[in-house]
C-alpha cells in the first residue's frame, strides 16, 4: 500500500508542450509513471514523444482513461487548469506551478469546498508526490527514493530530497513522499495526509518537515497528539529567519510571534513529536525511533 498514487495511477499532463511539462513528462515516464495523455488547449490531436494530446481534461479521461493530472501551466493560467481538473472529477490533481496569486487559490479552494467533485489537490508550488517504485508525479529526482515504510510530508522541495536521502542512508525506504507546497493557500495539508498515513499499513513512521509562517504545523501537532498512533519525526526550517521578510516561499514569512520555527518546534515537542534541531539529524532520528 501507499497513499495518493500507485501503479494504477494514470496521469494526464496539463501543459505538456511547455518546456517544463515536456521535460518532466519524459522524466516521469523514465521512472515508470503511467503517463496516458497531455492536455494543451488548441493542440488536441497532436502528440508529444508518443503521448496523445487533448484539448480538454474531460477528453483525456474519456479517451485515455486518465485518473490524475499534473499541472505545469504558467502561473496566470494555472488556477484555471486546476479548476478544469476539479470540474472533470479526477481523483487527484498535483499542481507544480510556482507563483500563482493567492487570490486565485482562494477561489479554487472555495470551489473545491462547495462542489461535489472528489478531486484532491496537492500544491501548488510543490515538488509533487512519489510512491517509490510505482509512480512519480512531480519533479523530484526519482533515483534517491527507495520503497519502504517512512512517509514524508513537507512544504519544501529540496529539503525533502535531503530528508529522503538521509532516511535512505539509514536503510529505510519511503511509502509515499508528498511536497504540499510553500504557498499560503494550498490543497491537501498536513492533517489530511496524516489521516491517510494513519490507515496505510505500509507506513510505520512519518517525517513532517515544516517552515516558518502560518499555524499548520502547530495544528498538525495537536491532531497528532489526539489521533495519530505512529511516531512522527519533525524539522522546522527557518530558525534563523528574520521577522517580516519573505524567505523565498510566499508563505514563509514570520508575521506574528507564534509562527517562528522555535515556537513551532516547542509546540510539536509538547505533542509528542520527535523534533530535531538540525536538518542533518532527520535520518538519524528516524532510525532511532524505528529502533534499528
Amino acid at each position: 500500500m501507499s497513499i495518493l498514487v500507485n501503479n494504477r495511477t494514470k496521469v494526464v499532463v496539463q501543459g505538456l508542450t511547455g518546456s517544463q511539462g515536456k521535460f518532466h513528462a519524459q522524466k516521469m515516464k523514465e521512472y515508470g509513471t503511467n503517463i496516458v495523455a497531455g492536455v494543451v488547449p488548441g493542440r488536441g490531436g497532436t502528440e508529444v514523444d508518443g503521448t496523445p494530446v487533448f484539448d480538454t481534461v474531460e477528453e483525456a479521461i474519456r479517451q485515455a482513461g486518465a485518473n490524475a493530472s499534473i499541472v505545469y501551466v504558467p502561473p496566470a493560467y494555472a488556477a484555471d487548469a486546476v479548476i478544469e481538473s476539479v470540474d472533470a472529477n479526477l481523483d487527484l490533481c498535483v499542481c507544480i506551478t510556482e507563483g500563482i496569486p493567492v487570490k486565485d487559490m482562494i477561489k479554487v479552494k472555495r470551489l473545491m469546498k462547495t462542489s461535489s467533485s472528489k478531486t484532491m489537490l496537492v500544491g501548488p508550488n510543490c515538488p509533487g508526490v512519489i510512491t517509490p517504485g510505482e509512480c512519480k508525479m512531480g519533479i523530484m529526482p526519482g533515483e534517491i527514493h527507495t520503497a519502504g515504510t517512512v512517509g514524508i510530508i513537507s512544504k519544501s522541495g529540496t529539503l525533502t530530497y535531503e530528508a529522503v536521502k538521509q532516511v535512505s542512508a539509514f536503510g529505510y525506504g519511503q511509502s509515499t513522499c508528498i511536497g504540499i507546497g510553500g504557498d499560503p493557500i494550498i490543497g491537501l495539508k498536513y492533517i489530511d495526509l496524516l489521516e491517510m498515513f494513519q490507515f496505510d499499513a505500509q507506513t510505520e513512521c512519518v517525517v513532517l518537515i515544516g517552515e516558518i509562517g502560518g499555524q499548520a504545523e502547530v495544528k498538525a501537532g495537536e491532531w497528532i497528539k489526539q489521533n495519530f498512533n505512529k511516531p512522527v519525526v519533525s524539522f522546522i526550517a527557518g530558525q534563523t529567519a528574520p521577522k517580516g521578510k519573505r524567505m523565498g516561499h510566499a508563505g514563509a514569512i514570520i508575521s506574528g510571534g507564534d509562527d517562528t520555527a522555535a515556537a513551532k518546534m516547542k509546540a510539536l515537542e509538547k505533542c509528542g513529536v520527535h523534533v530535531v534541531q538540525s536538518p542533518a539529524d532527520i535520518g538519524k532520528k528516524v532510525a532511532e525511533v524505528l529502533g534499528k
Binding site: 487559490m105 472555495r110 519544501s156 530530497y161 517552515e211 524567505m247 538540525s278
Partner: protein, 407 residues
Amino acid sequence: MDLHEFQAKGLLRNYGVPVPDGGVASTASDALRVAKELRGDAWVIKAQVHAGGRGKAGGVKVVNSFSDVYDVASHMLGMKIVTKQTGPEGKIVRRTLIEKATDIKQEIYLSFLVDRDSEQHMIIASAEGGMDIEEVAEKNPNAIVTERINPVTGMGLFLGRKIAKKIGLESSLLNKFADVANKIYNVFADFDGMMLEINPLVVTGDGDIVCLDAKMNVDENALYRHPKIEEMKDYGELEPQEVRASIFDLSYVSMDGNIGCMVNGAGLAMATMDIIKSFGGDPANFLDVGGGADVNKVREAFKIILTDPKVKVIFVNIFGGIVRCDLIAEGVLKGSDEVPSDRSIVVRLDGTNVEEGRRILEEGAAKTGLNIVTADTMADAAQKAVELAAGEDYNPEKKKTAAKAKE
C-alpha cells in the same frame, strides 16, 4: 511587495476612501511648498519608509507654522529611522508626506489580510486604534473583532455594520463606516493585497471617517496583472544585493553574518542557515537560486555573494533535482571569474549530475587557483564553513553554548 503610505493612500483616494489632503516632498523646500498649497494652520509630517512604529522613532511630527514645516522636514529627511521592524541598521528617510492635520475624535483599528486557516480574506477591527494591534492582542484580546469574507460575495455593507456594532461605534456612524470599510476592502481585493492596515481610521470632530495611515503589502505573484503597482516598487528600500537579486529573479534576503549561502530551494536555503547557526556560525544571507536556474542565474547569484563585503566564506549547498550540479559548478566558476576573490568556497553537491559537477569544480579550481573545499554531507559542509569563517578564533565550545542557550 510593500507600498509606501502615500502610494497606498493614492489607491484609497481613487476608490473614494477619505484620506487627508497631502503631498510628497523629498526636500525641505518642497515640504514648505506642499504645506503652503494645502493651507491651514497645522500639518503632519510623516517619514515615508517601509517600517511600522515610525511615530515612536520620530518619523511622525505635527507642526503649526510654515517655519516648523521647513525645519522639521529638513531634519527628518536624511535621518535614520530605527524601529523594531527595521532592525538596528534602520532606514534612511528620503521622502516625507505632508498632510493637513485632522481633528480626531475617535481612533479605530482596521485591517484586511489573508487568513490561511479559513482560506479567505479576513477583517480585523478594534476600537483601540492608534496602538500596535499585537499590543492590543496581548493586553485586551476581547477588544479585537475578526470576520471572514466570502470570496464569492465580497465584503458587503452588512459585514461593515456588523463590525461597527461589535467595536461599539455610534449608530449614526454605522452606514458611513460600512461604506468606507467596503471601499477599503475593494482596494485590498482588487490589487491582490496580502495585508492592508489602516491604523488609525479616525472619526473626525465633524463625524467623518478618515484614513490617517495606510500600510499595504501586495502579492508579488500577482504583480503581472498590476503593472502600475509594480512601478511603485521602491528599490531605495532594499540593500544593493537585494536589488541585484530582484533583477535576476532570485530570492535573496540580507543577514548580519559572514557566511554567504547559495542554495537551491527555499526550504533547504532556510535549513542551511539553521545548520550554520547550530555550528556556531552566522549566515550572511538567504539565497535561493530557484528551480529553473541556468548558468547565468547561478553566475549572477554567486556574484551577488562575492560582492557582499561582509562575506568571509561561501557555502554552496545544492541538492540537484531539476537544477543540475554540473550547471551549478559552471555558474560558480563563471561568477568567480568575473569577481576575483581569495575567499574559501565550501561546496556540497548532491543529486542530479553530481559527479560531473564535482569534476568541473575540481578542474576549475586547479586551473584558477580557487580555494574550493568539498564536503559530502550538509553537516560536514556547514562545520567546515563555520571553521573557515571563524579562522583562528574557531572554538568548538561555542557550538555547545549556542545549543544550550537555545534550550
